[in-house]
Amino acid sequence: MRRIVRTTLAVALSLAACGIVIFNHPIAEGGSRSNDTIQLATETGATNLVSAIYLGARLYDTLFEVLVFTVAVIGVRFYLLRRPSSARAAPIPESHVLQASAQILYPLTLILGLYLALFGHLSPGGGFSGGVVAASGLLLCVMSIGVETVYRRLSGAGIERLEWALPMVIVVVCVLPVLFGRPILSSLLPVGRAGRFFGSSSILLLNVLIGLKVLIGSWMVLYAFIRHRGEI
């Protein structure tokens, strides 16, 4: 009986909240500011206007968001890596079809991730999506080679230090313009004609840095979850 009361109340409250928002908010607002958008493109040199905003005007927000990602990686590693590893847990079932197809797919996925990060200022994509796609490429690689092999090959390359160094480089790139007399968080590299690969001030650089950071961070999280998957 109590359960029915609680369920009804929950449904009623949620619908009330939802209804308040729907009935007060006009259905489909129009509007994009056409002259603003052209101005954004010429000021930053990027034709992907979304990149121009989140790596140009709102770089301060993006910086904190990279920090949120870093904190997530720190948290997952701190809380998972101190437990005994799951050598006793059931092994992940290996399927030959999966292994064979992963062997073909993972180079393609890695290249796709690289493309998304590099060309994020010209077409949809950007650092975050490129990094995530590349991380799923790494996951496919794990499916084809095995998780410990990939871990051994990657951890020898100083990947941990790189993971912490990358946000520091991003912060330095943000602060560096101050030394040259420009306002902080603006860009130092020159702005070329909009639409060329190298003409995008510092957006290309930031995309690559963020893509690398997301790739390494996601790999750390994935490895922690695979290695310490625990048992019920």
């Binding site: 259905i27 994009s32 992907n48």
Partner: protein, 139 residues
């Protein structure tokens, strides 16, 4: 079909998410509902300035058509990363709790935690009694 816009769908999903978050007892399902609530917020954010005949905000645009507002889409990128972080960390904590109590039932865990709290001296057990270095934790 004027009512079937992104904002309406987003709010319906929000209502479903909050209902499931309250009603269901399983912690993993609560987390899924939390993800649904967060995603509905994101859907709401990108559909406030969008009409079906608008183009993507990539120049050069088709002549004579309006471009969707890129500003909310930039905000959504941050929101997605934040949701990923929340999901990952809450999954880790659920994993630690499940390992300790061997159940994903929210009520059982709450009851067990409150019983432990009421024990005299509040010397509750750590998650991994076998780990030696939890003795020297910072305070």
């Amino acid at each position: 079909m004027g009512w079937l816009s992104g904002t309406t769908v987003a709010m319906v999903l929000f209502a479903v998410g909050t209902t499931v978050l309250i009603v269901r007892k399983d912690l993993v399902i609560k987390l899924l509902a939390l993800g649904l609530v967060n995603s509905s917020g994101i859907l709401f954010l990108i559909s406030i300035r969008f009409q079906p005949q608008m183009e993507a905000p990539i120049l050069p645009a088709k002549v004579g058509s309006a471009i969707a507002d890129p500003f909310p889409q930039a905000l959504v990128l941050s929101a997605i990363v934040i949701n990923f972080a929340i999901l990952a960390l809450s999954l880790v904590f659920v994993m630690l709790l499940v390992e300790r109590y061997h159940s994903t039932d929210c009520e059982r865990i709450e009851h067990a935690v409150e019983t432990e709290k009421a024990m005299l001296g509040r010397r509750d057990r750590t998650v991994n009694p076998s780990e030696g270095d939890t003795r020297e934790e910072t305070r």
